[in-house]
Every structure is written in C-alpha cells, then in structure tokens.
Symmetry: C2
Subunit: 503 residues, 2 copies
C-alpha cells in the first residue's frame, strides 16, 4: 500500500513536497476542503482538488478573486487602513497591475496554468536600453540612458583588464595562448580599439542618428571612468540580470487578473466572495470555519481539511485553535512592503524618449518608474511613476495621497524634465496598509527558519500555504507551489486516514 | 525667395537632405512623380508627396506591396531564380517575416509611420536569457543557455579585474578611494564573494528551482575560465547589445507587412501592381517609364520627376538613360545576402526549454535560430530555424531546397536534441536569388563611397532612393529616410523650376 501511494505521488518518505499534484480523478470523492483566500495559492489548490473530486469551498474576504494579483482599472476601489478610499478614473482599457506584474520564463507552474486555462500572453518589458537612471550624485543629477551606463562600464572594465593581462599585472592562471584569446575576446566584448583603449561605443548610444545621403551616424564618446563609480551605474542596469528578472518575461494580455479570473471561471460556485473569516476551530477530524458576509450575517463552513492562505499579519487577528507554537510564528511574522503610484498620461516616453516598456531608476523613494509594455504608440498609457519596496515603500506609502503622488510626479520630472505636468488620474497602492494583506512577501523562511518549517507541516486538519511558505517569496509561482504542497499533504492525510479505518 | 524656401525646409544651402519632409499641402499641385518600387522607400515617398498634392504613380513589379518587407503565410508563393516555386502551407494565422523582422526603438521614422498609419505594435523579442549558444568547439558541443555564458564571462572578468586592482597590478589612474569604489562595484556587478572570487551565480541559471517547504533553490557553479574562451561565449550573447539590436524592439501585430499594407490603404489606386519596368528615358524635363503588365502588354507612364528605388542588381538589367558614371555605379554595386529557413512546429522551445522569443546561435551556416515573439503558449508556432547573412547565407541558400532544410533541421537538433522531427512545412527564402531583389542591403556607401555620393545626387529628373542610399543599410528606416531625401529633392527641383519660369 505504501509503495502504491508512493507511486501515486501521494507520499514520498512521509514528507509531502512541492511537486506538481497529479491526483487521480475521483481520488478526492467524499472528502471536503475549505480554502481560505482566493489568491493564487488558494485558487490553484482549489482547482487541483476539484479535478481530483474533492468538495471544495473557497472563502474570500474581498469582492474579487486574486488577492495581491490585482489589476487596477477604471472603477476599481482602492482601500487602505489609513487613507481615504480612491476610485480609479483611468480611461476604459487602461490599467496597471498593482501586485505581481511579471512572470519569468522559468516560473513554469504559473505559465503552466496560463496555458491550461487559456490565458492569452504577451511580453512584459522588464528592460529597455533607452530607459533611464538618475541620482543626485551621478552625472550631475541628469538622467542617463541605460545603454550609456551599461556600455561605458563594460568598455572600461574590458580595457582595464585587457591591459592588465597584456602587461602581466593580472594573474589569470591561463596559458599565454589562452591569455591572448582572453584579450581578443575582451576587445570585441568591450568595444575596444586595437590598442585596448575604450574611446567610444555605438552601443552606448548615438550622438548623431545615421540617415540618408551624407548623414553619417556618430557614437557617443566614452565617459571618464572616475565619473562612472556611482553604484547606480553598476546596479540599476543589471536589475534585469537577476534570475527572476531576466528576459523573456510575460504578462497576460489585458491585466494580470486574467489568471485568477480564469481560475474563477473553472471553479464557479466553489468560490464565495465577501466571506470574511472570523474564527477557525477543529471539529472532529476536520474544521469549522466561521465567517461573516457583507451584510454582517455569520456563517459556518465545515470540512475535512482546511488550507489557510491568509497572510500572517491578517491571520494573527483571527480567532483560531492552531498549536500555540504556530500562533507565535504567525504573530511574529515579518512581512515586506511595497508601494505603487500610477498615473494616466500621454505617452511622452515613447516617440520623444524612445522608451517602450521597461524601468527607469532613481535613488528616490519611488525607486522604479515603469512604462507600459502594451498598446504601444497609442495616445495614452498608464505610467507606474513609482514602484518601491521595503523602507522606501513604507515611507512613500505613509505619505498622504496627494503628497505621495506629488513626490512621484517629481521623480518623473527628474527623469523626463518638463513632462510631469501631463500626469493625471493618480492612484496609490501601499500594500502594507491594504486590508486583508497588510504587506507583501512574508519573510518567514529568512527571518524565522524554524517557524517556516513548522508552518509547512500540517497542524491536524490545517494546512498553511502561500508565497510566504515557499522559497519563491512574493511571486505567484511561490503561492502556486505552496498550494500544491498543501494539496499533496491533503492527499497523503486522506490516504493515511483511509488506512487507519477498518477495511 | 531663397530664404523663404529655406525656412520652408525646401532647400538647405542647395543640398537636399534627410530631414522629415514637411511639404505644404498643395505645394505639389500640378506636378507629377512616378515612383519605381513599392517598398518602404517608394511607399513613404509616395505618401509624403501625395499629402503635398503631387500626382503620384507607384509602379510595382510584384503582385504585392512591401518589397523586402514580406510576411510569408499560408498560400504565399516563394519564387527564386534558381529553385522551384514553393507555396507556404502553414496553418492559418501562422507566419514569419522573411525580410525585416525588427524595429529598433530609435528608428523613429519607421515607428512614426506605424503611429501615423495606425499599425498595432507588439514587442519583438530579440534576446532571451534562456536561448542557446552551440558550437562544436565549445562546451563539448552541447548547447548552453545565454545566461550561463553571460554571467560566467562577467563573473570572471569582474573577479580578475577586482583582484588585479586590489593587488596593484592594474593601472586604473584612479585615486585609492575610487579604486576601492571600483572594486565594490565589481563585486555586485560580477556576483563575487567578499574575497573577490567568482564561485557561482544564480544569474547564470538555477541547478535547482526553488519551491515550497524545504525545496531551496541552488545556483549553477561557476565554469572554469579556460573553458569560456571560445568567441561564441563572448560574441553571441552580446548580439543584442548592438545599437540596432537593443531592447525594446517592436513588430507589427500580425506580420511586418501590416506597414506596407497600411501605406497601400492610404495610397489606393496610386499604386499599380504587376507593373514590371522595362525602360526609363528622359522626356522634356521629365521622364517616360515603359513597363509591362502581367499579360505582357506594354505601357508608358510619364511624369515630371521619377524616384527609382529598384535595387541596383535589378536596375542594372533595365534599359535607361542615366548618366554613364551612374550606370557604372549601378552595374558594379555590391549587395549583401541573407537566407531564412522556417518551419511550423509544436512549441517545444517554450515550456520545455523556457524560451519565449529570442535567438539561439550556432557556428553553422544557419547562424541564428529565431523563436516567435507572439502567440505564446499556443500549440504551434513558426520557428525560423536558420537566419543567416553574407557567405553562410549564400552557401545555405544555394543548396537544393530539401538539402538546405535538412541542414536547418540539423541545427535545431543540435540546439534542441530530439525535437527536430517535429518541424514541418519548411520554407526557404534566399534573398540573393529572389526576383526583383537579387540581394539585400546594398553596400554602396561602404564599397563605393564616390558612387554613393553620386547616386544620392539627382540625375536630371531621376532621384534614386532606398536603404542602399542611406547609412542605415538593410533597415526600413534607411529606406524611409532615403525616400524622404528624394521627396525633399523633388520639392527643391520643383521650386527651382518655378523660379526659372517667367512670373
């Protein structure tokens, strides 16, 4: 029996793990699961369990599915615990993804569902060589194109190393022949002249655009190395070299929420919206979940198993009978923060500045300015003027709305002088103060490794899931694989319960 | 009068040049222009002249507009001078761009028309970090992901230079403080450990994908520097750093030929298809163009001015009364070559290999293998198995169709072992042997600078235009700005003719 279960992928030396669930259709018949939260963890778990025959109920506190996967468009209401409600006033068809906004090529759990559910995809531009970096202590405060920083850094590094190797000042541990090959490669890679100097580089940008007739193109001259030592010149242009940020990145056409909406289409009435969980308790071998509807009426849902995807800062405020050590982990959990401030605007960044998608960086609290990846050449678009993390996000998000949006406008003004007046319809989302989230990216694995392990183990009928219980924190992929892990744990629990019963 | 003309942009010290034409509406009334060739040079010139009131006739030898801008889809007939005709058998909705397939962000002449004409655009993926490089003498012949080559090269370069600087073996001409900043930047940029060693890099790829619970990600170990010295490891991954290849690149949704089709929609009956030019001669101050229709009937079109965009290898075979020194330039012109071999296929490169658009490179005559940038996650797509230039393109294109396509399959097999059997519906386009082109990218500026200057000057009523008369060779941008130059020259010619006439 054990071997059969193992072959079925239900157990693996007793430890449920994060493999793609492949539960037999019908294997869940007669068993019920209540799932708390219709974010990506809850939705993917619900869908896998439903396919296997489980009776699934998803309770979602909001009036929409998706959780942090949230596309803000005309009419969206944006609530914070500390600010007045905003209503988005963009033109129809304009939007921005307030939560996750990118899918990396290697996040195959996420992309697999996009394929399975028929979500139409397009490229998400995470890097444009025409995008800008700007910092007070760099380039006289003037914005600089990515390409100029990237290729000046590369050119100077190549030149210094090639000269050092040729002069014998660098210990390469290579044969003389291989050293010569290294220098040869550095010449091409860095755009060096034959004497190993870096003097100019077309890759760093054109001073004169080539044309017809006698209009010959002219590359930018090299910058002086000493002027390139600001960390912004080395760090910002390599943001898209982070493994999760590398090309090609994708997004659903029409908004990231196409993914939860596609799950919802499959799950239908298994999802109850406006169901705010107020209490959790064990009942027999299962659970009873108390919840309140929008009108304030109370309800109770019982099930054999419970997957709880509620973010810990929210869960800490819900009455429960989890083990006391788990309650402590939940109470002490550290969560990240993020703020996005977006505006509708004429697309001054396109024809004028040749930026079609991608991110500009400043050293201000707005951190990143993100240009839209779709609807190129249309008259208007939504500019995410500030996309910020951690301390800067908390500072920026804690400002009164008008003040935060004025700050974000000033960032755009520094990047695109004279243009910020075109920004309209400002919207702020500060995740640390968004009800039912109160943060992003639980840092449980990093900050409390023992607690992380504990929360990944079933607590009787309770399974915990979400990006915060994965090593892919903040990503939809992490939520999904954590959801899968819970699904596998339920299948294992059900199998062991069946074994324990008299035949 | 001269100053007024100059202010109107009609003359600039007597030299027509490649500025955006801004001819006054009605300024061309009563004057006629015959344009030879409905490629991008001819179409953009025709559109600008039409807007100014000129009577425009575009004669196009083929049964379609666009010239080298050619999207091959189901039913497309592919003719070569040396091979049997092919008919494309892709599924409906599948296509590839046989000619230009990318628009760089800085090609604002091209993008400006896309905007003006309402051509819907999407991202053209020119680089994927998951794409592959493969060469017999590199990595044991096994394909390697771009990201592994890119970040091992960067890591080793950073490590060698940082150690060299710290040890005083490299003359940086920096202060001690700046040297320390340089080393600090190199640590982050190259992914170095604190001791300046490059040992591993998540950016170079993941050995283990992180998951839920206890599934911790693991980066690839560093490669040995000596194994990284093949030029493929340094060159291919920096292809997208060439100024014309940098992100973001765009393409029209549905095929590059949406651009000429949009021009054609505006020009309407000004374009005559199936009109093969057979002779050109001066008539009074204007020209008479003899041409033959599909049925073999001959026609003559007269006009005050003529813009000839016919590629020189084709033009050399057409009777004309150009100046003899121009005839010599045309006869001796050197043109480039290019071959594309495409197949329809299930998208094995996507979920399996995590490649969504972008280019893989081999050291074979196919050179580049190009994955589709649209319709991600759909069951099938069109893979450009080989996209080759110059000598390799001529060798590849000169093979019999079946042989060339078998060679391209073998390239795909080396990049994606076990997958090449899935390729169907092969199509070959070898531009050197395509009638009415006989090559790509006239290399007149490079190979015959005096001839280039001469051809850019009007020859009485004849103006010559096309990418071959620009410094943006092979690009649509070059064709357009050359077309603009001809338009400006016609406006100047007309103005000087008006001046010469009695008031």
């Amino acid at each position: 029996m054990y071997m059969a279960m193992r072959a079925m992928g239900l157990v693996d030396d007793g430890v449920a793990h994060a493999e793609t669930p492949s539960l037999r259709p019908g294997s869940g018949n007669g068993s019920s699961v209540v799932i708390l939260g219709a974010g990506l963890a809850g939705l993917s778990a619900a869908w896998e369990l439903k396919k296997a025959g489980y009776a699934v109920t998803v309770l979602e506190a909001r009036d929409r599915v998706g959780g942090r996967n949230w596309t803000v468009r005309r009419g969206s209401k944006i609530a914070h615990t500390d600010k007045p409600e905003q209503t988005c006033t963009f033109e129809d068809g304009q939007y921005f993804n307030a939560g996750p906004a990118r899918i990396p090529s290697h996040h195959q759990a996420t992309l697999g569902y996009c394929q399975e559910l028929g979500v139409e995809m397009e490229v998400l531009v995470n890097h444009s060589d025409s995008a800008l970096i700007q910092a007070d202590g760099f380039n006289g405060g003037k914005p600089m194109q990515m390409r100029q920083a990237i290729h000046n850094v590369r050119g100077h590094v190549a030149s210094l190393l090639a000269k050092g190797v040729r002069n014998g000042g660098v210990d390469t541990a290579l044969t003389a022949e291989d050293q010569a090959r290294l220098v040869e490669n550095l010449i091409g890679w860095g755009g060096l002249d034959a004497d190993l100097a870096f003097r100019h580089s077309e890759s760093s940008g054109l001073l004169v655009e080539p044309g017809a007739g006698d209009v010959v193109g002219k590359p930018r001259d090299a910058m002086v190395l000493a002027s390139l030592l600001h960390p912004m010149a080395w760090g910002a242009p390599t943001f898209h070299d982070i493994i999760d940020m590398q090309a090609t990145m994708l997004q659903p056409v029409g908004g990231m929420d196409r993914i939860p909406m596609a799950f919802a289409g499959k799950l239908g009435r298994a999802i109850t919206l406006n169901a705010q969980v107020t209490g959790l308790k064990r009942k027999g071998a299962g659970v009873e979940v108390a919840w309140m509807d929008r009108a304030g009426a109370t309800h109770a849902t019982t099930a054999d198993h419970c997957i709880c995807t509620i973010p810990f800062p929210v869960l800490a405020g819900i009455e429960n009978d989890f083990s006391s050590n788990r309650q402590a982990v939940i109470k002490n959990a550290v969560y990240g923060d993020s703020t996005k401030i977006a505006f509708q605007s004429p697309r001054f960044w396109e024809a004028r500045d040749q930026i079609y998608g991608g991110l500009s960086f400043t050293d201000r609290d707005t951190l990143m300015t993100w240009y839209p990846s779709g609807r190129f050449l249309h008259p208007t678009g939504v500019l995410v003027a500030g996309y910020s993390f951690a301390g800067p996000a908390t500072r920026l998000g804690s400002l009164p709305l008008a003040e935060g949006q004025a700050y974000a406008r000033e960032t755009v003004e520094r990047l695109h002088p004279g243009q910020s007046g075109k920004l309209t319809d400002g919207v702020t989302v500060h995740w640390g103060k968004v009800p039912f989230n109160l943060g992003i990216a639980g840092e449980v694995a990093q900050e409390d490794p023992a607690g992380y392990t504990l929360m990944n183990d079933p607590d009787g009928p309770y399974l915990f899931a979400g990006e915060h219980l994965s090593h892919v924190g903040a990503w939809q992929q992490g939520a999904i694989v954590s959801g899968w892990r819970a699904v596998n744990a339920i299948a294992a629990r059900r199998a062991s319960q069946s074994l324990a019963q008299p035949a």
